[in-house]
């Protein structure tokens, strides 16, 4: 009862971000759960030892006698997953869409590689805490807008401040590829969607910017140029280039850009028509963070279920794909990430492979796979236990979640309100 009173008071002032869990000091042993490793494999009756923030051991628990641990968690009949990773997210950059003062997702100007999302990431955002109870424990925070939107970073979702949250700082640069189509007219007199006459020109602008940046970085200029400086690392692979693009032709052009400039690591974000360019993607080692699965087809004539089948088409083609959900209400929708994967499974992908789309594959693309994305000995203990299949709404019920071995709160402003009113009505019923 006391707990609720305190929480109740807190929520009057803020959205009531949960207090971050302290560093793991006590060893944890999770037994009996069905472990979905995130790399396609499953251990039916697993045993997982978590020490000092890492998975000290994971293996089949049948007939295995583990050493003594401080805390024991019985996960029998439950499911264990690596923490889900929300790629290309804007969590913590906007609190309320309609309140401009709370909006920090898009900077003015076109060529903004120097704009860094990490410093605006609000660890106490109500949307961050609401994502965690569904298993989303990591996210890539990416800026929006402009041609070069800026530089993203990868964070874990339980931290006091953005510095503590960083998993990988400045992991990549985001480029919005121009569209070969554009809308003409204005809202009251729309002229329809017509070929973009400036498409080639816009590509040239990107190339010119890149050339200048390269020239700047390869010379010893006396004056600093911040945007060009921020482009450092694309050719070496220290930073990944995320090209946001959906069209078939545009994807070809984006890959040509990679080839021409010897960009080491590149990912297509969106990639709605990437399935039409599979050999080219493969040949150039380009991965895809796929457009939101729960979406309508882009064209009237298309297969009405194409957005659901898209992952299967790319996966069958041998392309490394992850899921992301940029678009309307993307921040509040990020908690539905597991169900996007579930939908991909409904439309043809094997369930464990579908899980990879929000764990292992995403970690590989973001370059955090050494520590995150799978349940493997030696990796970070960023995982959760669910009552049932976490890719299905009915059974996604997270009871325990660890980030780097820290047992995080699964409460939120929303669960607190739920508890308060449930209690209110229960009390009324007793009267």
């Amino acid at each position: 009862m006391k707990k609720y009173i305190i929480i109740g008071l807190l929520s009057c002032f803020t959205y009531g971000q949960q207090t971050p869990a302290p560093k793991q000091t006590k060893s944890i042993l999770i037994t009996g759960g069905k472990a979905h490793l995130g790399n396609g494999k499953v251990i039916e009756n697993s045993i997982i030892s978590v020490k000092e923030g890492k998975i000290a051991m994971i293996q089949d628990g049948t007939n295995f006698k583990p050493e003594k641990h401080d805390i024991y968690i019985d996960a029998s009949k439950k499911h264990i997953y690596p923490g889900f990773i929300g790629a290309n997210a804007t969590l913590g950059l906007v609190e309320v869409d309609a309140v401009k003062a709370s909006d920090d997702e898009s900077e003015m100007g076109q060529m903004n590689p120097h704009i860094r999302s990490i410093i605006a990431y609000n660890t106490e955002s109500g949307l961050v805490e609401a994502a965690r109870p569904n298993g989303v424990l990591l996210a890539q925070i990416a800026p929006r807008g402009g041609r070069f939107s800026g530089t993203s970073s990868v964070v874990q979702l339980d931290a006091w401040n953005w510095e503590d949250a960083v998993v990988k700082e400045n992991d990549g640069i985001h480029l919005n590829w121009p569209s070969s189509y554009s809308r003409s007219g204005w809202w009251a007199e729309p002229g329809g969607i017509e070929p973009n006459k400036n498409y080639e020109k816009q590509i040239t602008e990107i190339q010119d910017f890149y050339n200048d940046a390269k020239a700047y970085l390869n010379s010893n200029p006396t004056l600093r140029d911040i945007p060009y400086e921020a482009m450092k690392g694309l050719d070496t692979g220290d930073k990944r280039l995320y090209i946001h693009v959906d069209g078939e032709k545009e994807i070809v052009d984006a890959i040509l850009f990679k080839k021409k400039n010897n960009i080491s690591k590149m990912t297509i974000v969106g990639g709605y028509y990437a399935f039409k360019n599979i050999p080219l993607l493969k040949e150039n080692n380009v991965s895809v963070l796929l457009r939101r699965v729960h979406d309508l087809p882009l064209l009237e004539d298309e297969d009405v279920n194409l957005p659901y089948k898209n992952a299967k088409l790319l996966d069958d083609g041998g392309i490394l794909i992850g899921l992301q959900n940029a678009g309307d209400m993307e921040r509040m929708q990020i908690r539905n990430l597991p169900f996007y994967a579930g939908t991909c499974a409904a439309w043809g992908i094997d369930k464990e492979r579908a899980l990879q789309l929000i764990t292992f594959n995403t970690a590989k693309i973001l370059g955090i796979d050494a520590n995150y994305g799978t349940l493997e000995t030696g990796k970070s203990a960023t995982l959760f236990i669910s009552e049932g299949d976490a890719l299905d709404m009915r059974t996604n019920k997270v009871t325990v979640a660890l980030i780097n071995g820290r047992s995080i709160s699964l409460e939120s402003h929303q669960t607190e309100l739920y508890d308060r009113y449930k209690e209110k009505f229960e009390a009324q019923a007793k009267e």
Binding site: D97, W187, E248, L296, K422
Partner: protein
Amino acid sequence: MRICTLLAVLFLSFFGNAQDYFPKNDGVKQSFKNHVAITNATIYVSATQKLEKATLLFKDSKVIEVGTAVTVPKNATLIDATGKTIYPSFIDLFTEFGIDKPQPTPRRGFATQYDSSREGYYWNDHIKPEYNAYENLKYDDKVAGSLREIGFGTVVSHSNDGVIAGTGLLWTLNDSDNNAKRILNTKVSQLFTFNRSKLSNQSYPSSLMGSMALIRQVYHDAKWYATGSSKTKDLSLENFNANKNLIQIFDAGDILNKLRASKIGKEFGVNYIIKGSGDEFEKIEEIKKTGATYIIPLDFPDAYDVSDPYLAQQVSLSDMKFWNQAPFNLKILAENKVNFVLTASDNKKPKDFLDNLRKAVLYGLPKETALAALTETPAKILNQSNLIGSLNKGALANFLIVSGDIFDDKSTIHENWVQGNRNILDKMNIEDIRGEYNLVFNNTTFDLTISGELDKLEAKTVKDSINYGTKLTYKEPWVTLVIKTKDSVNNSFYRLTGIKNKTTLEGKAVLENGTETSWTATKKEATDKKDDKKEEKKDDKKEEPKVPEMMPITYPNIAYGNPTKPQQETILFKNATVWTGEKEGNLTETDVLIQNGKIAQIGKNISVTNAKIVDATGKHLTAGIIDEHSHIAISRGVNEGGQNSSAEVTIEDVVNSDDINIYRNLSGGVTSSNLLHGSANPIGGRAAFIKLKWGYTPEEMIVKDAPKYIKFALGENVKQSNWGSGRFPQTRMGVEQVYEDYFTRALEYKKEWAAYNASKDKKKVAPRFDIEMEVLGQILDKKRFITCHSYVQSEINMLMKVAERYNFKIQTFTHILEGYKVADKMAEHGVGGSTFADWWGYKYEVKDAIPYNAALMNGQGVVVSINSDDAEMSRRLNQEAAKAVKYGNVSEEEAWKFVTLNPAKLLQVDDKVGSIKVGKDADVVLWTANPLSIYARAEKTIVDGIIFYDLEKEAASLATIQKQRSVLTNSLLEAKNKGLKTQAPKKKDVGHYHCDTLGENCVVSHAKYQ
């Protein structure tokens, strides 16, 4: 403006033919008019009466006589028209020709204008029956010329501006005289449109349904005004009443708008002449049923340039198909005996009109019908058959002289006479000078060949196999030749000019050095006639235009349309897990029979003959999903936000049966949708409850006997927190008072009518009929029910209290994201909650929205449904329902009711739909798995016993789409190769409405501020 016009008329009169009683200050009076006789012609006296070798005799502006035995007066001007055909000139009922249009008022700042800017007129600026085209004339010689070139002689001109755009005049395209003679009738028609006037920024109406409601209210108000009950002057209504007996023309536009115009007409007993858009063939049965006369444009789309396959992908099958089908439109209209006339108003280049007319004839439009549609029929509509549209005695001498059959591609219009005034377009009876000549000048003989088309002659001069570059111009009788000399260093020329003289051409030549001499060209005897003929034949073959095969029309005529409307079947599902939604709960291994559109039997081992058997082993059969809050399938605007109440509008007016989202919703197991007005104002518009009968018409989709609803809204949207400004209310406090005000007025209105109905006074005059008040009265009478957009608890509570004060109850709160805070009060009031599963974060008023809302409300006994408000989410409502299992531990069977039986209850149609029960409508869905599971796919979606979506047939549908696209792509490429005009590929703009989408055009797909 009128002064200017008058001045223009006065000015013209100085050089035009002055009226005979006008003073004459520029010379002496002349009045002689000679007879003119056009002889030896084929004359179409009317579309149906054709005379050979006939004479047309006229004097001044009128026909004196026409026939084969006309006595031509001595001294009459004679024009020989041997081999030519004469037609009455064409009439266009729908032009904006010669109207002096004022410039639109620019918007000042961002402030919205809610009130009218006029005084003494109707309250709405877009209603302009007082506007008269004849008072705003500016005759345009150039445009008149371009219309005469395509055969027109008489037109009706309107200013196409405003919902009621005013009257049109009938006048001729007569350059030689002035308006005094041109104008045949100052007021012949009154024009209606669905579009706002560009001259006013008054915000109402901001939607199609608003325009429709406004027109209806004008009819009611005009009737009331005519009784003399108005205490104030209304010049608009006075004019409207005076215009009642004119032709009523409705510029409707696309296929569904034509049906909408006809619907309004039928309600008020008006037979509109409806201006169409060339897509009438797509719903020809419905067009036929309207019984209206149509004004059809002849604007066929250019071929899409599909040579770039990437760009070509963006062109929808429906657009490609329309390119193929459009030229067949008139043929189909004629076959179905739809009465129509033609207009060139949609042709940006007037010349396209004639080309397209000929194309339509080639594609099967009978010539007589085409001619009648341009002459007799419009004349009859105008009640001017004695004057125009034929060449009978007494008619205006408005006629065309054509080289042959006007519907033949090769024919040219030589002359277009208007009111007896000659306009030569292409000189006729030009002497043919083509042939081979011996050209002699300066003691030298050359071989000269003149060939080519008569209006585009070419010449070739040869001597000793050397070709001398030659340019020829022929302006009868003058021939000019410019011949290059042998000298290739200094460019020098011989210039020959002369006239035709029997078989020779002769005249003066000027040599390169300036010496003048004479020249003669003598025609050679024809030698190689045979070869010429062969060549001609070849040419003929080349030009023979082919009529392509018409792509099949589908219902609707877009991708995934069916070649015929799908029909009811008797279907037996075997061995399904049946989610009855009734007390029986879920039944395993059960059979369900549907027959005659109803659920006929539920049980084990049902066997019937003649049923389509569906093996549903391992599958789940449920009632179809009902979306309580949807904005799909709506044409041109989901919000009539121009006022704080818009009870007078109804979505039923604007159901768009051709929206692909209907099919997409079917693919997600949705069988009916409650189409709601948006949330821009506290009192929104009326709703439409439809069944998703893909391929059927809007009227067939609307469930006629379902209880009627209206949308209300509270909070940020109605107080304009995120859009617009300047409209009451701006706070939640004001919102309450809006309701107090309107319900008070509705009560007073009811009282006034009750008194009138009860009165036995024989002289009693009916009070003003107010559509808005009628609707609010229905709410007070519990005959119409409110579904109210709401978020925070204070406003939810407020509206329940308002309703209680006026003795009714709110039926449903939609969105209702803080419903959980007042769930007990809601249960007590008896209101349902139709909410989102997990939406929040998009605006300030949803900061306390929680995904446990549905479970908490349900726990308090509120009837809960989960709705979409979104074209994408509506096809995954099964998943959204499943979230109630996750958030709040609702049982699966109960959660399923959130998208089936409960919305049916909220809409009070649960006696017909929402569960699987014998006798209910066969609106069912077969799922591949437990429908609440993320892994479930809708396999068959059935409405009224008709299969509208079948996952198993999707591959075949896609293959058909692909095949039709490739057939059309090839013909588009062929068209381009032939050198036909093309247009850049355009992508079809399919937007999606949400509660807060303002205006008619749904350009930005966003869901930020639901």
